[in-house]
Amino acid sequence: MIVDPVGLFLVFLKASALSLGGLSSLPLLRADLVATHIATDQQLVQAIAIGRVSTGPNGLYIVSLGYLVGGFAGAALATVAAAVPPLVIIPIARVSRHLLLTPPVAGLVRGVALATAGLLAASSLQIQIAAGATAWWQIALAAAAVVLSYRGTIHPAFVIVGGAAAGILLGR
């Protein structure tokens, strides 16, 4: 791969370790990969979409991103980086389960989650603009995707397929 494997692994590991669930690693990955020109916003968007179409947790979009920037090795590194940080909860829970359910820990998790949510919202607008999706119908499509995903009644894969169909109809 063109990208330094150790550096790429550390970027994925950091994003996974400092996020709380699923897509919340996106702002960190965007800061470390797009600003440094290792990945493009187009690739981020593709990876998110593929992650939604594919099986498994949403957070596995980083496996798709790993493949896009580093081939099979990149995908393998991203998978390991996704697997390791969540497992630190196992030894921590063994040693001090009661400590985990105290107000300061609840506050820490809540504060990180709320900050991450704000950053994720900012990232979503930035990738929309950076991907050049600013035509009226694309903005309307994004708004529809927000509503459908927030309500959660339609499977994400169908929402992505609907977006692709709209692109084929309107995007040439």
């Binding site: 996020s19 099986t55 957070g59 389960r97 692109g167």
Partner: protein, 158 residues
Amino acid sequence: MERERWLSPREFGELWALSQLSPGIHLVALAGLVGDRVAGWRGVAATVGGMLVPAAAITVAVTVAYGAIASSEIARAALSGVAPTAAGMTLATALLLIRSTARRARAQAALDLAVSAAAFAAGIAVAIPTVAAIAIGGLIGVVALGRERPTSRETPVG
């Protein structure tokens, strides 16, 4: 789980609550905690491997398949619709994360939303490093947001 009597519903609920505190993908943490409870480190390897390896392989396969057609005109047109859709879904994820995290009492909700709004502004302005914004959020959380246990996450975000 319950059918095989590996865990009682109460145990499962407790492990689920712990998994929500983990860094990274919460479903991976839940799989690991369940595996550990049932069969120690071998259980962890089985549950986490069983969850991630097939899912990662399928994700790579979909990415490879997409790459094979990515330069075609129809794929480019499709992407022009998929890009805003993925961006919108990401925004919805952020909103769902706020909904499941923010507390319900009015003063607390206002404080919680202010943290998200400040992080949003920091993210747009770019002047503040992402890691710093997350750290500040965590610090504010320890000091001021811990009065109430986290509300149960109705929406899976992992």
